[in-house]
């Protein structure tokens, strides 16, 4: 019995780490959705591109220095962030601007096509071989009462929480955050009030790209192999964003962590004890999602929208 509980705890911890990854991707969705009601299907691919770019920077800088140390990772991280800013601006120009007056769904389809393009381009440029990314923390672990936590998982959880805090404060306290809220409410009225709507959209896409790239950098060492199928993880983050209620920043993080824990626990201990769970453990998040939506159509933290006629 004791063994089962330790096992469950252990899996919960790694579930929280996995859930934090989902939460980071979901945060990317949420940011864009909050400002423009567009769901960015390419967020997972942005994450993948970020992981690839970071890998490229790490190998480039370490070849220059001759060894792999903390500075290399820091430099590579900064380089990836700069790349993310440029990438976000490009995405805003090719996806958001030309389609501003189209119905929301065609922008969504455009992001799907963007996802396809990004995946294909990455595969073409990087070649079909999977890469082995390096972790800045090596394999270092920490042990607390029989439960083992790796530094990598800790850093993932921490950065999810920190980013959530930053964006939560940003959206509720700062001028730009409130401008973004106003834009999502009614972009025309916002423009009339003197809010530079185009700039707001661009900043949101840049933020989403940064979040995507950061999650890619953190996730890559955890996957141990880096290839283009990493982008499909973005699909798994959708239930997280929806569970929390699209457009709610704490909701994205809580939803991500809930789903991560459910998935890891059902894959691990529970599937050893109940064989039928083994059959469904990779769709369990979707079942949870559909059940939740039947009960609460706007997610756990979402507010029901009143539609104007």
């Amino acid at each position: 019995m004791n063994e089962l509980i330790t096992g469950l705890l252990q899996e919960s911890i790694s579930g929280i780490a996995l859930g934090s990854i989902y939460a980071l991707i979901a945060l990317g969705f949420t940011l864009i959705y909050k400002a423009s009601e567009v769901v960015n299907f390419a967020q997972g691919e942005v994450m993948m591109v970020g992981a690839y770019v970071n890998f490229f920077f790490v190998s480039y800088f370490s070849a220059m220095v001759g060894e792999i140390n903390g500075w290399v990772f820091l430099l590579a991280f900064l380089g990836s962030i700069i790349f993310a800013v440029i990438f976000g601006i490009i995405l805003d120009f090719i996806i958001n601007r030309p389609l501003k007056d189209e119905p929301v769904f065609s922008i969504v389809m455009a992001t799907i096509s963007l996802a396809i393009i990004l995946r294909a381009l990455t595969a073409l440029i990087a070649g079909p071989i999977s890469l082995v990314p390096q972790s800045p923390f090596g394999g270092r672990i920490m042990e607390v009462g029989g439960v083992v936590v790796s530094y990598l998982d800790l850093s993932i959880i921490l950065s999810a929480v920190v980013l959530m805090g930053i964006f939560f404060i940003f959206f509720n306290k700062t001028r730009w955050g409130i401008a973004m809220k106003a834009t999502s409410e009614d972009s025309e009225a916002a423009q009339l009030m003197g809010i530079p709507v185009k700039k707001v959209y661009m900043i949101v896409w840049v933020f989403a790209a940064i979040v995507g790239v950061v999650s890619g950098i953190l996730l890559a060492p955890r996957m141990s192999l880096l290839d283009t199928s990493m982008g499909f993880l973005g699909l798994k983050a959708f239930p997280a964003a929806i569970l929390g209620g699209f457009g709610s920043i704490p909701g994205a993080v809580v939803g991500g962590i809930i789903l991560g824990v459910i998935e890891t626990v059902s894959m691990g201990t529970l599937s050893f004890h109940f064989s039928w769970i083994k059959e469904i453990n990779d769709i369990i998040v979707w079942i949870v999602l559909i059940v939740v939506l039947m009960v609460r159509p706007d997610g756990l933290f979402g507010k029901a929208k009143v539609k104007r006629v």
Binding site: I117, A123, L124, E279, I280, D282, I283, L289
Partner: protein
């Protein structure tokens, strides 16, 4: 004079088009030796047209998003395979029963659709696609799990439909029927109710359209079309596995409808034909000539071109191929006097 039902439609082309459809294989056969492969590709397009017409009725006309149509196709294919090969029903009976069963699965997805909308619906249907795929693997006693399932040929009134040549006539009979049925539905009371719901749910409700009923009917009908496509898919492909019914396929179906033109039946058919031919005939040609210069894996370049076509269509031609055709027709109708504005 009282106008007939078809008075506003130009029907004189229809028999010609049908004749052209049935003459096409003879044409291809006389033109090339590898006609079997071309027929195979066109057969695929014919099956997908049946499905995309159903998807168009659901998305283009009723405004409900579904990213789970590969799931419906899979249910249709597996149900028919099990009914015919394992239960032992005659194929003709399965051809009728299976679409109805898939229609009921459509109803199951339709119920949550009454409460949720927009992106939530898109993701719920996407989840449905994943669940179907997983369930097929879980029920491996009947479906053969992830290894796939061999399916017998279609037999129609004692005749064996076995070659691509036979399949062509078999499939396209149903394709023409499906397109005609789609046209009839949108010009009936049902279709008007669908379009009213799409344009404004509140206005439709205020005018006395029972929204819940018609949304469920839309899902049911879409399921029937997908089920029919599934039956044909299983019995003409002779082999089905879960790899055939990926989430990407659902998205591709959407692309087909979008490229053809959302909200027009002919558009859906045209878009499907365009995408399938593109994917199987033109891109491989292009890829062969390009592979001398860059080393690529098979699917990558194809996916890249695919994504680019989709993006360009969304940005520059949101009405799709059918919209282009309509614009062209208006252009020639008023030819010498066309106002500049109309063509932008």
């Amino acid at each position: 004079m009282i106008k007939g039902r078809y008075a506003d439609e130009n029907l004189k082309w229809i028999p010609l088009i049908i004749m052209a459809v049935f003459a096409l294989p003879f044409l291809i056969k006389s033109a090339t030796f590898s006609y079997k492969y071309y027929l195979y590709v066109i057969n695929m397009a014919g099956i997908y047209i049946i499905l995309t017409v159903g998807l168009d009725l659901l998305s283009g006309f009723t405004g409900l998003i579904s990213l789970g149509h590969a799931g419906f196709l899979a249910i249709g294919a597996y149900t028919s395979a099990i009914l015919v090969d394992q239960v032992g029903l005659p194929f003709e009976l399965s051809l009728i029963i299976t679409p109805v069963i898939v229609g009921f699965f459509g109803l199951i997805i339709g119920f949550p659709a009454l409460r949720i909308e927009g992106m939530y619906l898109a993701l719920t249907t996407m989840g449905f696609g994943f669940i179907v795929k997983r369930m097929i693997i879980a029920l491996r006693d009947w479906t053969g799990g992830s290894g796939g399932l061999q399916v017998s040929n279609a037999t129609l009134l004692g005749m064996d439909v076995k070659s691509d040549w036979d399949n062509y006539f078999f499939i396209f009979t149903f394709t023409i029927l499906a397109v005609a049925a789609g046209r009839r539905i949108i010009h009936s009371k049902l279709g008007r109710a669908f379009m009213a719901i799409r344009d404004s749910e509140h206005a439709a409700e205020a005018s006395g359209v029972n929204i819940a009923k018609y949304k469920l009917i839309a899902f049911f009908i879409s399921g029937i079309f997908a089920g029919l496509a599934g039956v044909l898919f299983a019995h003409t492909n002779n082999f089905i596995s879960t790899d055939h019914f990926d989430i990407l396929l659902s998205i591709y179906f959407y692309v087909m409808v979008l490229v053809g033109g959302m909200g027009s039946i002919y558009g859906a058919a045209l878009g499907t034909l365009f995408i399938v031919l593109m994917e199987n005939l033109f891109i491989p040609l292009f890829e062969d000539s390009l592979s001398q210069f860059i080393a690529t894996e098979a699917g990558d370049l194809q996916a890249l071109i695919f994504g680019l076509i989709m993006l360009l269509f969304i940005i520059f031609q949101p009405l799709g191929l059918y919209g282009m055709w309509l614009k062209m027709r208006i252009y020639w109708k008023v030819f010498p006097f066309n106002p500049r504005k109309r063509f932008t």
